[in-house]
């Protein structure tokens, strides 16, 4: 008899004793040093959590290496964070050093806590996705190489969260990140008329377009669709429902950079990320143009924001016009919104900077 719908393992069977014993009784925490948290319970017990960065796309032998460390120091328990970091937990302060040393031997950075750049939440890219307009893991590696010291230290005005989506489906909270890298197409789909009939349902394909750019082919003998190029904004929703409408284009696909989003409610409410660079080319293996723009933004933010200001809070205080001036990023026609909530973004006051 096959078993189905058993659901995930019960989390209670996965918890270390110190977590189980103090569940719901934690009193406060402190960051002992970058990458090491100390949580103290009402019971007086404490747990040290050592956080390390991970490439996220890992082999099973990588997981086994982590298991070896957890078996050696943590009674066979470990966890992962919502930003793909690794955490090893121990109630025993004397084990913190040996755990750090064993993680370091694996080449893993210790950090990702407090006012730092934590690991990048990202999608699959060219590793596994059919709709990717750019790669994911490669850009992430290049960006985190550049921000390695920001991961292992806590010297920013506040947390800075980066995420990457390899197309505008945005699997991941890319639209509310301090910095977001988004894969974009910049040319309309090219209907393959022979395949449309075989692979696609024409009414569904027409309905999938948010701007009404897809029409029936004018020749009733051709059972296919045409794309009105002046209406298409390359969202690829049609490609998702109809594989015969490919958009991928080596020369014109690339990435856009967004900035100033946040998720927490602390101080200002959550905010969307806003476009700061509409297009940069796909330049593998290390996407230097992308890395340079992000470094520039982080440098200006780190040197000018007030303590506790997230990137978006800093930009709102100084004004977007000052942001573009200080980062020397050109403002273009593409920055002005013309989609569903566009008018909310147009300035309705004479308060602005020169």
């Amino acid at each position: 008899m096959r078993r189905t719908d058993i659901g995930p393992p019960d989390y209670k069977t996965m918890l270390p004793d110190v977590i189980k014993n103090n569940y719901g009784r934690w009193k406060y925490h402190e960051i002992v040093r970058p990458g090491v948290l100390r949580h103290v319970s009402e019971s007086g017990e404490e747990v040290y959590s050592i956080r390390a960065g991970s490439p996220r796309l890992v082999s099973i032998d990588f997981i086994r290496d982590l298991c070896d460390i957890a078996d050696k120091h943590c009674n066979g328990h470990l966890r992962f964070t919502s930003r793909h970091n690794i955490e090893l937990m121990t109630p025993d302060k004397s084990k913190v050093g040996p755990i750090i040393s064993d993680l370091t031997k694996l080449g893993l950075p210790i950090g990702g806590t407090g006012k730092c750049i934590s690991n990048i939440v990202h999608t699959q890219g060219w590793i596994h996705c059919h709709s990717a307009a750019t790669d994911a893991s490669g850009i992430v590696k290049a960006v985190m190489d550049a921000f390695y010291d920001q991961f292992t230290q806590m010297k920013l005005p506040n947390h800075l969260r980066i995420s990457l989506a390899c197309c505008i489906n945005m699997c991941g909270a890319v639209h509310c990140s301090d910095l977001a890298i988004v894969g974009v197409h910049t040319r309309p789909p090219r209907p393959d008329h022979e395949k449309v009939l075989a692979q696609c349902e024409i009414p569904t394909t027409i309905q999938s377009c948010p701007t009404g750019a897809i029409r029936r082919h004018p020749d009733p003998n051709v059972k296919s669709v045409v794309v009105r190029e002046d209406l298409c904004m390359y969202c690829a929703n049609c490609f998702t429902v109809c594989p015969a409408l490919p958009l991928a284009n080596a020369d014109t696909d690339g990435v856009a950079i967004y900035a100033g989003g946040k998720v927490p409610n602390a101080r200002k409410p959550p905010m969307f990320s806003r476009m700061v660079v509409p297009y940069l080319p796909n330049n593998p293996p290390r996407w230097p143009e992308v890395v340079d723009v992000l470094k520039k933004i982080v440098d200006v933010y780190a040197s000018s924001a007030k303590p506790t200001e997230r990137l978006g809070e800093w930009i709102e205080r100084i004004g977007w016009e000052a942001f573009f001036k200080r980062t020397e990023i050109p403002f273009t026609a593409q920055h002005i919104d013309d989609f569903t909530h566009a008018v909310e973004t147009y300035r309705t006051t004479t308060q602005f900077k020169w």
Binding site: R3, G7, L57, D61, P109, W126, A250, N265, P285
Partner: protein, 385 residues
């Protein structure tokens, strides 16, 4: 065909741990991982993806949990011609024993490429790359080891929550138990897609929202308290003595001016507090959430596809969140009934609400309109009576 990967080799350099090293590690043992590396190198050369639209593959009795994936050049990469993904529902809070993880690794060594994501952005363990023939035997061994598939397609996606009361003093609700309970209750909704589009549930224990529930979940549960936050004045003074500038870094940062500091006592006007968490984040030893605990329920968070991104909207300002979570489940049932009836294909619940109107939606789910639902009332005179 050459095994040289000069472009990817560049990504073995630099201090951050390299995924290319990881693929190479798997490639030593596994021909599919070796082909994955070569496909990636070709994409780096061509600057386009070499994966095709997924086909319909899966395991008996399930409509999702497996993403079919085929390479566009099977003749060049025969071992990764079919390279399907299996989404494995993570234990709540991403806690593991090493014995559970080792079992997962052993199963994936036998049935797949040996490459994984710990974790995917929705929260599942992602097992990357296997063939159609291996799916069923792999699944059978996974369930034998206590694991099951997560969601995909137009289904309830694998619910996820923050670490909650397991190791966080800010948590106002037991996110792990809530997420595990909802996941077990809705196995059918997760495994058999039948809705207009995807539906996501995420729970964060406090408004810091470490799983980005407000941005990423159609149904957003964020822990809240209904009384006053707790202040330990001695600890406040200790922070002040240790050099924290309480006036400029705490009091002046309060978005509603609910705090005052006279150099020895921190005073709160509880009715002005909007639970933003800033003061608690800054002085975790001195300040704590209140004791009347529950959650704010919000609806409609999503990424831009199709009509623009949404942050979730407040639906229930305060709800007690206690096992067996009947109130949450009753509300979910009403939402799903309405959305299933009115939603168009590939329309997330927020888009259905936007098209038909929040007023109609509130009627359908039996919730009274309250001012907490809006930033401000309407300014136009075009009203239906």
């Amino acid at each position: 065909m050459t095994d040289d990967t000069p472009l990817l080799d560049e990504l073995e350099k630099g201090p951050w741990p390299s995924y290319v090293k990881e693929i190479k590690r798997a490639a030593k043992k596994n021909p599919a991982a070796r082909d994955l590396l070569r496909i990636q190198e070709r994409s780096y050369h061509d600057r386009v993806t070499h994966w095709k639209h997924g086909g319909i593959v899966g395991v008996t009795g399930y409509g999702g949990g497996v993403i079919g994936r085929y390479c566009d050049s099977p003749e060049d990469f025969p071992h990764a011609a079919a390279f399907h993904t299996m989404r494995i529902n993570q234990p709540a809070g991403w806690f593991y024993t090493t014995s559970a993880l080792r079992k997962l690794c052993d199963i994936w060594e036998k049935h797949g490429s040996g490459m994984t994501n710990f974790h995917g952005s929705t929260g599942d363990v992602i097992l990357l790359g296997t063939t159609t023939e291996h799916l069923q035997p792999c699944f059978d061994e996974l369930t034998e080891a206590g694991f099951d598939l997560g969601g995909s397609g137009s289904a309830l996606r694998t619910p996820a929550g923050c670490i909650g009361q397991a190791r966080c003093e800010y948590a106002n609700i037991d996110t792990l138990d809530l997420i595990h309970d909802l996941t077990m209750t809705y196995q059918d909704e997760i495994h058999r897609p039948r809705w207009p589009y995807k539906f996501k549930i995420k729970a964060s224990g406090c408004p810091n929202d470490c799983v980005a529930a407000i941005a990423r979940a159609d149904f957003t549960i964020i822990g809240a308290w209904h009384d006053a936050l707790r202040i330990d004045q001695d600890e406040v003074r200790t922070y002040a003595k240790s050099g924290l500038d309480i006036e400029s870094l705490v009091v002046r940062k309060c978005p509603t001016e609910a705090l005052a500091w006279d150099g020895s006592t921190l005073r709160l006007t509880p009715e002005d507090c909007v639970r933003c968490m800033h003061c608690i984040n800054t002085m975790p030893k001195a300040l704590r959430p209140g004791l009347v605990k529950g959650a704010t329920i919000l609806i409609g968070g999503k990424a831009p596809i199709l009509k623009g991104a949404n942050l979730s909207w407040v639906l229930v300002p305060f709800m007690e969140i206690k096992s067996p979570y009947t109130e949450v489940k009753d509300l979910l049932a009403k939402i799903w009934d309405w959305w299933d009836e009115h939603g168009r294909t590939r329309e997330r619940v927020a888009e259905t609400i936007e098209r038909i109107g929040l007023k109609e939606f509130l009627k359908a789910v039996d919730l009274p309109p309250v001012p907490q639902m809006v930033n401000k009332p309407r300014s136009n005179p075009y009203v239906f009576f």
